[in-house]
């Protein structure tokens, strides 16, 4: 019997998705038993050239984590797309752009300026910046090109499934692997998570009344661990966010920040959250509602924390 062929890759990401796979613990050994892992640069001895030599479609499933931030990442995304029957956007960065996607508030020049020219510990009077090609005394060195903006995986290549989370929880990773191994695949385009919002799985008490008179910052209050954060005037992404994470942040008495992406049916996570928040405010007066919403600082970076590149906004106009 031919063993199933799996591949794992990371692009602009932190490595947390790789750790999440390791957090399968002893089940990792079960995966290695039923499937042949043909490419996993962090763990296995296969090269880009080995992937290039494979027939198109010869990888059964590829879990791809990380956003697309430079030319090398785009190249590998295209390569793995061609070689894989099933490509899974694995984790919030691949699905929506993730935290690195917040860089779409700026462009390459602004990022370079902060990091290499104006950071307080940087001593760089010569104004050196990293270059795609640079000459050293012994020869030439090259770097991949840093793009002006961040993209999710499906903005670069077609994707069959989305497994969100920062990082994806182990039960959903296992569910995805079982689906690939058994061939019992859901319809293409499916998100491997809940069909409901995070609020639907949150155990906190809700009054369902228009009760908010002001919004507070997390540093200002000690939240009641039994009551809905939003009804305490604390921003929580629950109503605009897809469920399936197990509400682990909320269990730690911290509000949701939306890493599972838009709730089902919500086109734009930030817009949906703004609408929900406005409806919770204890007022009928549009002016007063606007004034109370204005108390929320950094609405772009807050409401679109994990999804800016795939939101209706996509990126700041610069």
């Amino acid at each position: 019997m031919n063993r199933l062929k799996l591949a794992l890759y990371w692009a602009a990401s932190c490595g947390g998705c790789e750790i999440a796979v390791l957090d399968l613990d002893e089940k990792v050994l079960d995966v290695a038993e039923v499937a042949e892992i043909v490419f996993w640069p962090v763990a296995l001895d296969f090269k880009y050239r080995d992937v290039e030599a494979m027939a198109d479609g010869s990888i059964d499933g590829c879990l791809f984590n990380g956003a697309i931030r430079n030319s090398e990442q785009e190249h590998i995304a295209r390569l793995l797309r061609a070689k894989s029957k099933t490509l899974v956007a694995f984790g919030s960065c691949a699905c929506f752009g993730g935290i690195p996607g917040l860089a779409n508030v700026a462009n390459r020049q602004e990022v370079f300026d902060r990091v290499y020219l104006s950071a307080p510990s940087t001593t760089n009077q010569e104004g050196r910046l990293p270059q795609p090609v640079s000459q050293v005394p012994e020869g030439e060195l090259t770097l991949p090109e840093f793009y002006d903006a961040v993209f999710s995986l499906h903005q670069v290549v077609p994707v069959e499934y989305y497994l969100p989370g920062c990082p994806p929880p182990t039960n959903l990773i296992w569910q995805a692997l079982e689906a690939i191994v058994s061939g019992q695949l859901p319809p293409p385009g499916s998100v491997i998570a809940s069909d409901k919002t995070l609020c639907d799985e949150c155990k906190r008490e809700r009054s369902e009344e228009k009760s908010v008179k002001e919004f507070k910052r997390l540093w200002e209050v000690i939240p009641d661990p039994t009551k809905c954060f939003l009804e305490q005037g604390l921003i929580c992404h629950g109503p605009a966010t897809r469920g399936g994470c197990g509400a682990k942040c909320i269990e730690a008495n911290m509000p949701c920040r939306g890493c599972f992406g838009p709730a089902p049916e919500a086109a734009d996570q930030g817009g949906k959250l703004l609408g929900t928040i406005a409806s919770l405010i204890d007022s009928q007066d549009p002016k007063e509602i606007a004034r109370i919403v204005d108390q929320i600082p950094d609405r772009l970076g807050t409401f679109y924390r994990f999804v800016l590149p795939t939101s209706l906004l996509r990126r700041a106009r610069l």
Partner: protein, 487 residues
């Protein structure tokens, strides 16, 4: 004929790393470069964010050591708001953080470092991996490693919501306390971790130290580098991961600086080179003298060996015993043998496990008093911890509403950037002679940086295998003349 050897991809750095080795006409190594083609620009996109959100944003810098960024960030926001967490909150953070160390150090030691020693530096690359290790030491040991790394992850999740990525840190404390039932569970796991750490030291002793060839390798010239060292120490100059002053020692071992984290800009500068995205930190008092080592160069090193070098000892008994044994075996302090990082890492694993147990038995650890609400206007603050891979700096400045104006980060592996380049060059020069290159020799070049555990080391080896490696040798016109593969 001049040639270039390119090792690409190497993958034990965040994102992607690449080594270029330049050979002269005689086939001797002229120079070697470690490039980091990775940049995500947190310094820019954290601007404008509410500063109390940064402990949840900055861990995404690294999913292997999110705990380190979370802690440095939580300490930085304490400083920004001029608020001191209650004693129990500080202990809860440290409890979380010692569990993080158990996860990181045990994964690195067994999965990443062990293949080179248990299986052998020039062994068949098919065998030189975690499966090769398990086949030699037994599957039961492999399961113990998985079990204890899982314990460490579970403890972090209990305290911080998730192990990757934690969410509990807030200005002035933590969001969640510990119940007595959770405390008991952690205590039991901590006891088991102490035994596991002791066992790990024995493994190191049996496999590495009792093998004269390995001891010679550790002490040999190929893996030696003299430099300054930096690390956090407590009031008694003992190693501390969470808090303390930053101490710097010279290559001869004398203290040259001891300063508060908030004063780091007086001591550290960062040099920029166009051929890599990672900057080169150096000691300002000496200055940036290029990629050279020794007393006259501002290059310093961080991570386990550096921490043990700068400290006068360890704060727990078993770790102290192991600390003394290491320095007496290796000929006194400071030790410049880069490979001794592996030994130092196991000693720190013992300290982390012992400290984990101590804190889990602390009567105050289940206190409800876990937050001090800030009352002052936020402004500026620095938070520093020892990440598993070295000293980590977070520096935030905000407006009066607590929105981030500027943010500066010096990450653990970043401190070692120059040292990594120099260690790779030294190893390549010592190992590659007359243009003769083999896969085994190149693995030994890689061992030079593997000792530092550059970021993602701990993720690398819990599945069979090791770094992908392809070395192409080109002539001056760019024609491929030789290829070395690890298959």
């Amino acid at each position: 004929m001049r040639r270039t050897i390119t090792i690409d991809p190497i993958t034990r750095l965040e994102g992607h790393g690449k080594i270029d080795i330049f050979l002269d006409e005689k086939g001797e190594v002229e120079n070697a470069y470690l490039q980091v083609p990775e940049l995500r620009g947190f310094e820019r996109f954290c601007e404008g964010r509410p500063v109390e959100e940064l402990p949840r944003i900055t861990p995404k810098i690294c999913g292997v050591c999110p705990g380190a960024h979370h802690m440095a960030s939580a300490k930085a926001v304490d400083a920004v708001f001029h608020v001191k967490p209650p004693s129990a909150a500080k202990k809860l953070r440290e409890l979380y953080y010692t569990a993080h160390y158990v996860h990181s150090h045990s994964a690195h030691f067994y999965a990443l470092a062990a293949p080179d020693f248990v299986v052998g530096p020039q062994a068949d690359p098919k065998e030189r991996n975690i499966l090769g290790v398990i086949s030699r030491v037994g599957v039961e040991v492999g399961k113990e490693v998985i079990k204890h790394r899982a314990y460490a992850q579970q403890i972090q999740a209990t305290l911080a919501g998730q192990a990757t990525h934690p969410v509990c840190g807030l200005p002035g404390g933590v969001s969640k306390g510990l119940t007595e039932e959770e405390r008991r569970e952690i205590e039991e796991k901590a006891k088991s971790c102490v035994e596991f750490a002791k066992f790990s030291l024995k493994v190191f002793d049996d496999i590495v130290l009792k093998n004269k060839a390995y001891l010679d390798l550790i002490l040999g010239e190929v893996y030696r580098m003299t430099s300054y060292y930096m690390g956090l120490v407590d009031a008694n100059n003992r190693v501390n991961f969470y808090d303390g002053d930053i101490r710097v020692i010279a290559p001869e071992g004398n203290q040259v600086a001891r300063f508060k984290p908030a004063d780091y800009l007086d001591y550290i500068g960062e040099h920029v080179e166009p051929w890599t995205y990672l900057k080169f930190p150096y000691l300002k008092s000496i200055g940036w003298k290029g990629l050279v080592d020794g007393k006259d160069s501002g290059v310093y090193r961080v991570a386990p060996l550096a921490r043990l070098n700068v400290a006068d000892g360890m704060a727990t008994p078993l770790a102290q015993e192991a600390y003394e044994q290491m320095f007496s075996t290796l000929g006194g302090k400071p030790v410049h043998a880069t490979l001794a990082n592996h030994w130092a890492r196991v000693i720190e694993l013992i300290y982390a496990a012992e400290r984990l147990l101590e804190l889990s038995q602390d009567p105050e650890i289940t206190s409800d008093l876990i937050r001090t609400l800030p009352t002052e206007v936020p402004s500026e603050g620095v938070g520093v911890v020892e990440a598993p891979r070295g000293t980590l700096f977070h520096h935030y400045r905000t407006d009066e509403k607590g929105l981030v104006r500027r943010l500066n980060l010096i990450v653990a592996t970043g401190n070692n950037k120059a040292a990594l380049c120099l260690s790779i060059k030294r190893a390549a020069q010592g190992l590659i002679k007359g243009g003769q290159v083999s896969e085994g020799l190149l693995n030994m070049v890689e061992m030079a940086f593997r000792a530092y555990d550059p970021c993602l080391g701990c993720a690398t080896h819990s599945l069979p295998g090791q770094m992908p490696l392809r070395v192409n040798i080109y002539d001056e016109s760019g024609n491929l003349i030789q290829e070395v593969r690890r298959d």
